[in-house]
């Protein structure tokens, strides 16, 4: 495994790759088992599903799973519900891995020795990319196996291996494109976290943009702006349709992004960034002019320092979420008009347990499903920062200062909770302002409540991350990602499992519920606040008791 940089890169990612690959595989098999076998067990139910799709009654689900094709057949259903989220999940893994082996390795100073060896920089870069490619192939192999297994698991024959392979190839190319984009972004970002945040935001925005265009007809003509539009052009499992030009273009874009990133990597200083001469980087410009900024604001203590660290990602995610909220809110009337035209399928629509005939119902089922997820992703990315600082030795000195460990821990947690609240305020504010300007038919008290409650699911994710930081700092990133993924997937699959309401509340997204329709459910609110407090108390206790890593 140490014979080449490619193998060493793959080795560094082998456990996350296996864990993520298994999770994706299990998700694909499990969702088919629950959906195909339990939710749509008969031909009649599947026929009704197809009718809903044809008449536009399943637009809400398209925001998450993309364009449905032949959903009344097993293979079509598999490609839509079983693999619909995989471009996002696979892409997310590649973004995390790519930023870890590029900017992360530079941050930790691990790359200096490699760069001092007898290899050209461009070769080192290509070998790293090859190592990431190996990880991607491993993941895709596991997903391919899952596609094959999902047939028997759902009581159907094994899907054709060739078509399954083409479907996974389509997935792999989409994920490779975001890996290449993440490597490109890493050339401009000062830290792994910044690179991951920007590349992750591009991925999430691309995913939502491509799918939102399916729902909002006014945006349909602009779907091509998303790189994932190319992914949606091929549906090899559903109907054998493969767009060679879309696959080729994705490969070409990937190659271009890789070449650009490699070119920049070979020319810039090790450990430094490629500077972009535009206003956001005014600090860098002033540095060149010989006057480095002496700003010492937000350095008054640990809360302020935590906020300062999270400021960039908070603005990025906050503004991104706000744009999404505003955009979605503007499309709500057109979505509602679409449903109004579906009088013949109204009965079928009502079966979906969502009220999609009112502005509030549409926003609650779609926007307020995605916004808590976006904020939770932000919280998950930030929750690992303290643990990674500890592992790189950055807490050694701070904890030798006269601060109680409990208090230091809580201050850092509070800083993250404030950052989450700020990001949520951007999103909620944008939603309220847009909805008010469009005079949507909403209960404004409930709208404000829905916005005020927005930070809570993300706060639970953050507090869980801090609880892990308190006890097992090495497992924070993987633990939070796994918990968040499981929570979201459980939220999607729980209705099909017909579980008791109390059990369904295991998911933080179920706990958040539909405040835009239901207002405050005090019991759920108390559970959410309680979970945050319990996680923080547990983390604080663990952090105060254990040895600090060095």
């Amino acid at each position: 495994m140490f014979r080449s940089i490619a193998l060493a890169t793959f080795r560094s990612q082998r456990w996350p790759t296996l864990a993520w690959g298994l999770a994706l595989a299990i998700f694909a098999v499990f969702s088919m088992w629950t959906n195909w076998r339990n939710e749509y067990p008969s031909d009649e139910a599947r026929q009704l599903l197809a009718e809903q799709v044809d008449s536009g009654g399943l637009r809400f689900a398209q925001v998450l799973f993309g364009q449905p094709e032949r959903v009344d057949e097993f293979r079509g259903h598999l490609e839509w519900r079983g693999l619909g989220l995989h471009p996002l999940l696979l892409g997310l893994f590649m973004v995390i891995s790519a930023t870890a082996v590029s900017r992360g390795a530079e941050e930790r100073g691990e790359l200096d020795l490699v760069l001092a060896g007898p290899r050209r920089r461009s070769r080192i870069f290509l070998e790293q990319a090859a190592g990431l490619g190996l990880a991607l192939l491993t993941l895709c192999f596991l997903v391919w196996l899952a596609v094959l297994v999902s047939g028997p698991a759902a009581g159907e024959p094994i899907p054709p291996a060739g078509r399954a392979l083409l479907s996974v190839l389509n997935l792999a190319l989409a994920a490779a494109l975001f890996m290449a984009l993440a490597l490109l972004v890493a050339q401009f970002a000062r830290s792994r976290r910044a690179a991951g945040s920007v590349a992750g935001a591009i991925l999430v925005a691309s995913f939502l943009w491509a799918n939102l265009g399916l729902v909002a007809t006014s945006l349909g003509g602009w779907r091509w702006l998303s790189p994932l539009y190319l992914y949606s052009r091929s549906t090899p499992l559903a109907d054998g349709d493969v767009s060679v030009s879309a696959l080729g273009l994705t490969a070409l874009l990937t190659a271009a992004a890789l070449a650009s990133a490699g070119w920049l990597f070979a020319r810039r200083d090790a450990g430094a960034v490629v500077r972009i001469p535009f206003p956001g980087f005014a600090e860098a410009a002033s540095e060149r002019a010989g006057s480095v900024s002496h700003r010492t604001w937000l350095l008054g203590g640990s809360v302020q320092r935590g906020l300062r660290e999270a400021l960039g990602p908070t603005l990025l995610w906050g503004v991104g979420s706000a744009l999404f909220a505003a955009l979605f809110t503007t499309t709500t009337p057109s979505i509602r008009r679409g449903f109004d035209d579906l009088s013949e399928t109204r009965e079928a629509v009502q079966r979906l347990e969502f009220d999609l005939t009112s502005h509030a119902g549409i926003l609650s089922a779609l926007l307020f499903l995605v916004l808590p997820l976006l904020l939770s992703l932000f919280a998950a990315a930030q929750a690992a920062s303290m643990a990674s600082q500890e592992q790189s030795g950055r807490l050694e000195l701070e904890l030798a200062y006269p601060l109680r460990r409990h208090w230091y821990f809580l201050q850092r947690s509070i800083a993250l909770l404030i950052a989450i609240a700020l990001a949520a305020a951007f999103a909620g504010g944008a939603f309220l302002a847009t909805a008010a300007s469009m005079d949507l038919d909403l209960d404004w008290r409930k709208a404000v409540i829905a916005c005020l409650l927005l930070p809570l699911p993300a706060s639970i994710v953050a507090a869980f991350g801090y609880a892990l930081t308190g006890w097992r700092p090495r497992f924070v990133a993987a633990g939070v990602a796994a918990a968040l993924g499981a929570s979201f997937l459980f939220d999607l699959l729980a209705p099909a499992l017909d579980l008791p309401a109390a059990v369904q509340k295991v998911s933080v997204f179920q706990l958040y519920g539909q405040p835009l329709l239901d207002g405050i459910l005090w019991a759920d609110l108390a559970v959410m606040v309680g979970l945050v407090l319990v996680f923080l108390a547990a983390g604080s206790m663990g952090f105060a008791r254990r040895d600090i890593l060095k």
Partner: protein
């Protein structure tokens, strides 16, 4: 070695600056510290020595409550390091062996933050320290050289004039000129503020020139604790001579206190413990035209205590030494 202390270190009745009692922290069989009893007096400069992995940093991290002992206890200025950690940290300035700080912040921003964590410090003193160490505070930490990063750590350790300075390899990465500045800062902290300085170092000449007492640690156990001049090997001089005519080794080997005799033609070398006069008298008939006596240094004690296993490492350290030489030519 002349140190003009304002008050004697460890005046009677004073609580020790550092005291450990049976302090134990094990990582496997041979790593960590085991049953460590150590006492450092107030106002003294104490050197803490040992080979790599001996347990120096573990001891320091235990004193700062960054890690917790499996048994035993540690006190700083009478305060329990575990239960009164915050009060202890108020009194201590700490320089870690490996300094890792936020790379995007400048030296000034980092020092501002650390000053704020202490509730503020006299900023003119920070500027003064930075000036003496020739540290540009406007650069980002990630862009500093290794030595300049070390200077940021030194400034933050000294800036609040702590009663106890715990410095883990304070001269690491510094050039000789700045090593001397650090030595001056250490002496001033002791003389002007009455601070106690506890530091670990591999630069034996630095320890020898600064410290009154040293403690040697090996495989987690304290193997020697004594004033520098009382350490084994510290009263042994290395003598080399170039003679006018050859001499047989037995001529000097029989002299009391002379050991390790080597004769190579007209070149003679040996170790001398105690009075030098009998050796000089024995060499005189052979017309010595060059006689060099190297003052004893800590590497002798180091070699003595750590034996052959440490010899190669000690040899490397010794090459950085510049022991004063008395030339009898």
């Amino acid at each position: 070695m002349e140190i003009a202390a304002k008050r004697p270190a460890g005046a009677p009745g004073e609580v020790p600056a550092i005291r450990t009692l049976g302090l134990t922290k094990l990582y496997g069989e041979r790593r960590g510290v085991f049953d460590l009893d150590l006492e450092v007096r107030q106002g003294e400069i104490f050197g803490f020595l040992g080979p790599n992995g001996a347990g120096k940093t573990v001891t320091i991290r235990l004193l700062l409550d960054l890690i917790r002992p499996q048994s035993g206890r540690a006190e700083i200025l009478g305060l329990d390091c575990r239960r009164q950690a915050v009060a202890v940290h108020r009194l201590v300035g700490y320089l870690p062996g490996e300094l890792a700080l936020e790379p995007r912040l400048t030296g000034r921003q980092l020092l501002t933050y650390f000053a704020n964590l202490r509730g503020g410090v006299e900023w003119s003193f920070v500027e003064d320290l930075a000036g003496r160490l020739e540290l540009n505070l406007e650069q980002r930490f990630g862009e500093y050289s290794r030595g300049n990063k070390q200077k940021v750590g030194l400034v933050q350790a000294f800036m609040h004039r702590p009663r106890l300075l715990i410095l883990d390899e304070p001269s690491g990465g510094l050039d000789p000129l700045h090593q001397e500045t650090v030595a001056e800062l250490v002496r001033e902290a002791r003389d002007e503020t009455g601070s106690t300085i506890f530091f670990s170092s591999h630069i034996l000449s630095e320890v020898q020139s600064l410290c009154e007492r040293v403690g040697f640690i090996r495989e987690g156990r304290l193997v020697e604790l004594a004033p520098v001049h009382e350490l084994p090997g510290m009263n042994t001089y290395r003598v080399t001579a170039e003679l006018g005519k050859p001499m047989r080794p037995e001529t000097i080997a029989s002299i009391d206190g002379v050991t390790k005799v080597r004769v190579d033609g007209t070149s003679v070398s040996c170790a001398v413990r105690g009075d030098m006069a009998p050796l000089i008298e024995a060499l005189a008939p052979h017309h010595p035209h060059r006689l060099v006596s190297e003052e004893p240094d800590l590497s002798e004690a180091f070699l003595h205590l750590y034996g052959a296993a440490a010899e190669s490492e000690s040899g490397r350290s010794a090459t950085t030494n510049h022991p004063a030489r008395r030339n009898y030519q």
